[in-house]
């Protein structure tokens, strides 16, 4: 936007008409020049004529009407999968949450405080060899304890080592826990007795159920609440 040969450039004149000149000094200069220069006034007249002509340009004829039909909407824009499953997921998340609380609460109430008694009961059963067979069976339920089954040499060792009475309380915990210690504990000689407790099995089932409910809760909250919200937010800057 400069002057050329004493006259403001095309762009400068156009900018003046649009009101796009920020510097009032330049605006005044252009304005003053237009007062005295017929050639530049002609340019102004042409620019204004073009603006007028543009406003008169007829719209291109519509090839058809673009009104939408219900069928078209269903066919072209099927409801997104997350909207289709949204009601189910919202119910599922509520139920899963309730289940999670109930199962964990039950487990804590029934087995949490009384966990000390379990080793005693388990200790009695330790004398018999059956627990060895049960150990791998229990391990199937808890994948973390695969190592116990995977090491056959460790399993026979359980029976032969007479450590019986000093079964520590944390043995019962190790079966239920999903921590890395479970591996070690399961492989340890004293793992077998604890798995034999019926109450421990119930506790395992409870915690397994709680984990499942937790997984269902996370997925259903994701599909039912998080995904639609994320999509809606992304859609607000529509491309």
């Amino acid at each position: 936007m400069q002057y050329s040969g004493g006259h403001p450039s095309d762009e400068l004149i156009s900018a003046f008409l649009v009101g796009a000149i920020d510097d009032p000094a330049i605006g005044a200069t252009v304005s003053g020049h237009l007062e005295t220069c017929p050639a530049c006034r002609e340019q102004v007249a042409q620019l204004q004529a073009i603006t007028k002509l543009l406003a008169e340009l007829p719209a291109p004829p519509l090839p058809r009407s673009f009104t939408l039909t219900r069928e078209e909407l269903d066919r072209l824009q099927p409801r997104p999968w997350y909207l289709r499953y949204q009601p189910v997921c919202r119910w599922a998340s509520a139920i899963a949450a309730a289940l999670l609380v109930v199962l964990l609460g039950l487990d804590l109430l029934v087995f949490g405080p009384t966990a000390v008694e379990i080793p005693g009961a388990a200790g009695v059963r330790q004398a018999t060899p059956e627990p060895i067979a049960e150990a791998p069976a229990a391990a199937m339920n808890a994948p973390q304890e695969r190592t116990a089954a995977a090491e056959p040499t460790a399993a026979p060792a359980l029976a032969s080592t007479p450590v019986g009475k000093e079964v520590p309380t944390d043995e019962s915990m190790s079966i239920m826990a999903t921590t890395p210690e479970a591996d070690q504990a399961a492989a340890a000689p004293n793992a077998a007795p604890a798995t034999g407790g019926a109450s421990t099995t119930v506790s395992t089932v409870l915690r397994l159920g709680a984990s499942l409910a937790g997984i269902v809760f996370v997925i259903s909250v994701g599909v039912g609440f998080v995904v639609p919200r994320l999509v809606a937010r992304r859609g607000s800057h529509v491309r």
Binding site: S14, A20, A49, T51, P60, F66
Partner: protein, 225 residues
């Protein structure tokens, strides 16, 4: 459906939200010419323009929950503008000028002139429009969109800023550069220059038809619905 036609955009949108597809179709009828014209002038192809127009209304309908009030026309044109630019980028070609010209002929004969001064003047005006439409097709995309929205569709600068996603200053600068370029293009062509000079004479002779100051008033004018 006819009962809807006098209602404002906002009232219609409220009806759409409660499941009235017919209310949305009133909005479609209200804006389809503008949307289609923008797409057509940006792409220079009637089939692509048709696709974009259809897509724009489908998107608008399905994404209505993301419309948070304000200017519905600007929101709609923003969708159309973005879709058209995406398509432009993907096909990477300039609008077909030949098609533009033949279309312009069509429009001129179909729509005609409100009380034309004379058949000769009418023909000259139609030819000038055709040349202008062709010159418009040669503008860079950003200037073209701005000129179309401001001068053809009569959008306010604020609307254009929100449609194209740039600042008010950028809108003004694009508009002034686009118009200057149009003038330069018409001046460079012997025939176009003659016709333009003739038109300027008619306009200045006309009874108080000088459009001086229209630019400054437009900025504050609310879009007519």
């Amino acid at each position: 459906m006819c009962a809807y036609h006098h209602l404002t955009d906002e009232v219609l949108l409220a009806a759409v939200r409660s499941g009235e597809l017919a209310a949305f179709n009133v909005l479609v009828e209200r804006y389809q010419r503008t949307v289609y014209a923008l797409a057509f002038r940006l792409l220079g192809d009637r089939f692509l323009a048709e696709d974009i127009t259809q897509d724009t209304f489908l998107r608008a309908y399905t994404a209505l929950e993301t419309y948070r009030g304000g200017n519905f026309r600007a929101w709609l044109l923003r969708i159309a503008h973005n879709r058209a630019l995406d398509t432009l980028r993907s096909i990477q070609r300039r609008p077909a000028t030949s098609l533009e010209l033949s279309e312009a002929d069509d429009w001129a004969t179909r729509t005609g002139e409100p009380l034309p001064p004379s058949p000769v003047e009418q023909a000259a005006r139609a030819e000038l429009r055709r040349l202008l439409e062709a010159a418009l097709a040669t503008l860079p995309d950003d200037q073209r969109v701005t000129v179309i929205l401001a001068d053809i569709e009569g959008c306010s600068y604020d609307e254009i800023a929100s449609i194209t996603g740039v600042s008010l200053g950028t809108v003004k600068s694009r508009l002034s550069r686009g118009r200057a370029r149009l003038r330069a293009a018409l001046s460079a062509d012997q025939r176009a220059r003659e016709l333009l000079d003739e038109f300027v004479r008619q306009v200045s002779d006309g009874p108080g038809e000088r459009s001086t100051g229209s630019d400054t008033t437009r900025q504050s004018t609310e879009p007519t619905v």
